[in-house]
Each structure stands twice: as C-alpha cells, then as structure tokens.
C-alpha cells in the first residue's frame, strides 16, 4: 500500500539522519533527534497498522489506514507488546538475536532502528547495537520473554512488564501516535 510504503521510506530516512547525526560536528542535536524520533514513531505506527489491516483484510483498503491507529487496544496491543519485548515488530518474523536492547543509559535513538528495519535486512546498515559494546545493555536482553527476567517484577501484569523491562511509555492525546506503548530512545547525556 502506498501509505505503508511511504511510512517505510520515512522511517528509513529517519534512521539515516539519526545515524549521520552521530558524526556531526558539535554532537547530536537534541531537538532534531527528538523530531526524527517522533516522525519515526508515527511512521512506524502507521506501518504496523497497515500491516495489521493487511493481514486481517485481504483486500487493500487505504481508507482505513487511519482508523486502526486509533483502535489499537486489546489484542493488537498484546501482540505489539510481546513483540516489542523481544524487540520485534507486530508481523511474525523469526526472532533475531541482537535485535532489541534498549539502553537506559546514554542510548542513542539509533536503537529504534533495529525494531523498525526488520524486513529490510539489506538496509539495516551499520545500525547494529553491537556497535555500542561499551554501553550497558538494557534491562531486556535479547531472549524471548519466556526466559526468566533478571529484574524483579512487582506484579504479574502486562503493563508492568512493559514498564519495568522495556521502558516504553505511552504517547497520548494524538490520533496517529496511538495508545500503543512505543519504544523511545533519546540520547541521554
């Protein structure tokens, strides 16, 4: 679909810009990185939504691109959460080992790239988190969530699992960037 192709293109561009900002003189610009991350999230949401609606309805319905965004609750949320935990998108893909790792400390927005470019293995480029071997790994390791999580969980609850282990949060008040918890990594000084 046109919208999902555009969303994908926008995401790829955002990743490229985020990556090249590392090499920029003067260090990365917080404002610009923030805007790029926002664009990437909305593009990603739309992409997921269009993929989801693609699966459910075989015929392409570009009209409904917007509405799935607003209705992501319940089951799609569950799917999104479980795949985000292992660092993968909604679409069923073989799990890749080094694909998640959100860092808490000084993470670079770059890490979003791993989840977003899952299908474009050839476009992945130099965005592997392995490159940041110096940085501490995030709370969620690369294993799927059936393995014991090292961090103590306060409650058995999906929401808490998200919060404690993935450091996602909700972007609210916006019809496009929906209530789906979104991974956001901003470089912290």
């Amino acid at each position: 679909m046109e919208v999902s192709a555009e969303a994908k293109r926008i995401m790829v561009h955002a990743l490229g810009k985020l990556y090249s900002s590392r090499a920029q003189r003067g260090g990365h610009r917080l404002h610009r990185s923030l805007l790029l991350t926002l664009v990437m999230q909305s593009a990603r949401d739309i992409y997921h939504a269009s993929q989801a609606s693609c699966e459910t309805t075989t015929a392409a319905e570009p009209v409904q691109q917007e509405s799935p965004m607003e209705e992501t609750t319940g089951d799609p949320l569950e799917r999104e959460v479980s795949s985000t935990l292992s660092g993968l998108p909604v679409t069923p893909q073989p799990q890749e080992s080094a694909s998640s790792s959100e860092d808490e400390t000084s993470s670079h927005p770059l890490h979003c790239s791993v989840t977003a470019s899952r299908e474009d293995k050839e476009n992945r480029g130099p965005s592997r988190p392995d490159g940041n071997a110096r940085k501490r790994r995030g709370k969620v390791a690369a294993e799927p969530d059936f393995l014991p999580c090292k961090k103590a969980k306060m409650e058995q609850g999906r929401n808490n699992v998200i919060r404690s282990s993935v450091n996602c949060y909700r972007v609210s008040g916006d019809s496009l960037a929906s209530s789906v918890p979104i991974l956001r990594v901003i470089a912290a000084f």
């Binding site: 926008i10 003189r25 260090g27 917080l30 404002h31 805007l35 664009v39 739309i46 450091n167």
Partner: protein, 443 residues
C-alpha cells in the same frame, strides 16, 4: 512597498575567492543595536562583524547613512569537550546588544555552550613622547636620556578594538539556542534545549536556573525549548517556545523556579492538516515580543502567528509564509529542509512583520492593511539603488512571465536570519554568506 537597495557583499576572509562560499562565512545571526547605529552579524566561523551607519552628510545627501564595516573580531573558537569526546562548534548562534551607557558598545554573543560579553571601543589618540622608551617601544639607553619629557596624547587613525569582558561558561549541558537581555539591564538569560539560566552580567561563575523541563527519565522526553525572550518592558516576565508549538509565559515573581507557567499559548491542531510531519512543522523556531510588549510572534515552518498576550487559546493573526510547500513536505524532509529554523522580526512600530523563505525570498506582512509582499535578496536581480521588485511563486496552473514555479525554487538558498532597524525602515537580510541591507526609498 518600494525599497531602495544598497547591496553589499561581505566576505572578510581575504584569502578566499569571492565566488566560492566557504562554510565558515555563512551568516548565522544578524542584530541591530538599540539605536540602529550598529549592525552585528555572526557567522559559522565564530566571527562577529559589526557595521556602523555613516553619519549623514550634507555633501552626499543621497547616501543616506550607509553601513560600513566598523569592527571584526573572532568571538568564539572551536573547542573540544574531553569528557564527552565532542567538538563544540564555534558558530555564533545569537548576538544581543546591550543598551549603550557610555562611549563603548557592549554585546553578548553565544555559541552552543558559552556566552561572552564583548566591549567594542574606539581609540583615536595615543600617548607619544615617552621618556624611557622610544616610539617603537624599545627601551632607550639611559645614557642618552638627558631631559625629562612627559607623554602627550596625539591623534591617531581611528582604531576600533573589541575585548572580551566576561565569559559565561559551563552552565549548559545542551546547546544554547537563545539569549535575551532583561529590561533591568543587569541580568540576561541563556536558553538551551531543556533549561533556562539567569545570569548577572557582572558575575560569571554562577547562574540561576529558572526553567528546567528535563524529565527524570530522558526516554520520556516529549518536547524541548526552542527559543526564549524577556518582555521588553517588564523585567520579571519572559516567554519560551517549545517544539510542540506552544508558548509559555512565566513570571519570575511567582517562584524561583518557573516550571509552572503563568500563561500557556497553544492553538489546537487542525486535524485535517495532520500528516507524518505535523510535529516537525508545528515546532516553533522563533518567538519575539512586539516592541510594545502587547503581542508576541511565533514562527513555525509554514506560518507566522501573532498572539495577543491576553488570549491564550488561539493566535490573533496567522500568516502563511509559503503554504505551497505543504504538499512538498516529504521531499523537504528528505533533503533536511524541513528542519530549517527561520526567524521572524517586527518593525519598529509593530505594524509590519518579516520572515525569510527559500530561493532567497523573504516575506513582509502588513498587519494593518493585510497586504503582503515577497522580495528577493540576490545580486543578479538587484543593482544598488534599484527598486526591489515583488516576486511571486506560482502554485499551479499557468505560470505567468515573472512568476517562479515551486519546483524551480532553490532550497539551498534560504533566508533564516533577518533584522529590522528599531525605528526606521532599514532591514538587514542574511542570504547564506551575503548580507543585504535595504532602505526605504527617499522621495
């Protein structure tokens, strides 16, 4: 509006070819001083060039006070932050003049991390006839000294010297985007992406933090501060704009830390205009109080808005700068132009506002007559003393003879920085590495 042109190309690097624009020459800020006698520009190479208006003379009445170079100095040098392994750019982000209190002029200039107070003073006399040293400064042989003489001040060629008087450093983790001098002329504030600090002009080793929007967890960051300014008349009031398109007005009398705003200006988003890039184009790139202090003006990517300080729900006036770009946002995003930060300025009487665009176009909007004009700053199209011709962008359909189509616009030629003389109709427009000064026509 008819405008007479007095064009100058400013290139202060004598070894560089005039046709080749080096990146260091790109002008990054332009500012008139409070009387309009001086005009300062800062560039990416960390230099400041100050122009002074000629005294109007009876001999040449048609040269109505042209601006000539008065002083050039290197304000900031590139630095290296060893802790973060990051280079600190020497580019001058902002210059703000202090009101003149004696014969010398003072200005604040800032790069990403450090603010400096510069004193610009004239020297037109020097002492001559020292007793113990000769004119070259060499110590005289005591045996040759047979008489006593006292040095006398002799006139010399005018020399303008700039000296750094204060250096305000190590107060900002993030990149400084604005500085603004308070009406009390004793304090000023410096703003970075997440914090605003208040300084006393005399004290460099400490500053007060008055706004801090850094979240405890950086991953929860949703907005940054993009610009801030003190109220022109009330030293306790200031505003700051955010990347989300909102403006907050704060009163420093309310509390030491002004995280809670007194007023919050935001226009609800038009859902029909929603796109991938809505957040980017709603980010405010510049905010300016009117000279009267009754209004404030904001610039986002496609519009300029004038707000009444007493109405927070929506702007008083909205002007479309280049709405024909709305359908091109995707390509502008790909070539990075969507991140360009345009500034906006008021004229002295707050009746006209001006801002830049692409293709070296700049726009003026008359708030009273609701007329607007697009003008171009380029040497090819203008000769000194010629009248500037209004330009028009053709948005679709048949293109008329003098119109330019959207696809022919040169997006590498952008006018981000402009300034308007505080009382007269003289404007300074920075087009990449060239500075254009336009004056109103004399009858």
């Amino acid at each position: 509006m008819d405008e007479e042109i007095d064009t100058r190309k400013i290139n202060n690097s004598f070894l560089r070819d005039h046709n080749y624009a080096t990146e260091a020459d790109i002008i990054s800020t332009v500012e008139f001083n409070p009387t309009g006698e001086l005009l300062a520009t800062g560039d990416k190479g960390g230099r400041v060039v100050v122009f002074q208006r000629e005294q109007e003379s009876k001999n040449q009445p048609h040269r109505r006070g042209e601006y000539n170079v008065y002083s050039t100095f290197q304000s900031h040098e590139p630095e290296f932050d060893y802790l973060k392994s990051l280079e600190i750019e020497e580019k001058i982000n902002k210059i703000r003049w202090l009101p003149q209190q004696n014969a010398a002029y003072f200005l604040l200039s800032t790069n990403d991390k450090t603010v400096k107070l510069w004193k610009i003073s004239e020297r037109d006399k020097r002492p001559e006839g020292y007793n113990l040293k000769d004119e070259d400064g060499r110590i005289r042989d005591p045996a040759t000294i047979t008489a006593l003489r006292v040095p006398v001040l002799q006139p010399m060629d005018l020399m303008v010297e700039a000296t750094p008087r204060r250096v305000f450093s190590n107060a900002h983790t993030y990149h400084i985007n604005s500085i603004s001098v308070s009406n009390d002329y004793e304090t000023y504030m410096s703003t970075d992406d997440l914090r605003i600090n208040l300084w006393n002009l005399e004290i460099t080793n400490q500053s007060f933090n008055i706004v801090d929007i850094k979240p405890a967890n950086m991953e929860e960051l949703t907005e940054v501060i993009t610009a801030a300014e003190f109220h022109p008349n009330q030293c306790n009031t200031f505003i700051y704009s955010s990347s989300k398109g909102s403006i907050r007005l704060c009163d420093m009398r309310a509390s030491a830390l002004c995280d809670n705003h007194s007023k919050f200006f935001e226009e609800p988003e038009d859902p029909s205009n929603r796109s991938f890039f809505s957040e980017i184009i709603s980010s405010i790139s510049d905010v300016k109080f009117s000279h009267s202090g009754r209004y404030l003006m904001t610039r986002d990517y496609l519009t300029v808005k004038v707000w009444d300080l007493n109405m927070e729900s929506k702007p008083l006036e909205t002007y479309q700068v280049h709405d024909y770009l709305r359908s091109k946002l995707c390509s502008l995003y790909e070539n990075d132009c969507i991140f360009d930060k345009f500034e906006c300025v008021w004229n002295g009487s707050d009746s006209v506002i001006m801002t830049g665009s692409y293709n070296n176009f700049f726009r003026m909007f008359d708030r009273n007559t609701k007329r607007d004009v697009t003008l171009e700053a380029s040497r090819e199209n203008s000769k000194p003393r010629a009248i500037l011709k209004p330009r028009k962008v053709c948005v679709g359909g048949k293109r008329r003879k003098d119109e330019i189509s959207v696809d022919s616009l040169d997006f590498s030629k952008k006018i981000l920085h402009t300034a308007w003389h505080p009382s007269e109709n003289i404007i300074a427009v920075a087009a990449t590495n060239n500075l254009y000064i336009f004056q109103d026509k004399v009858n």
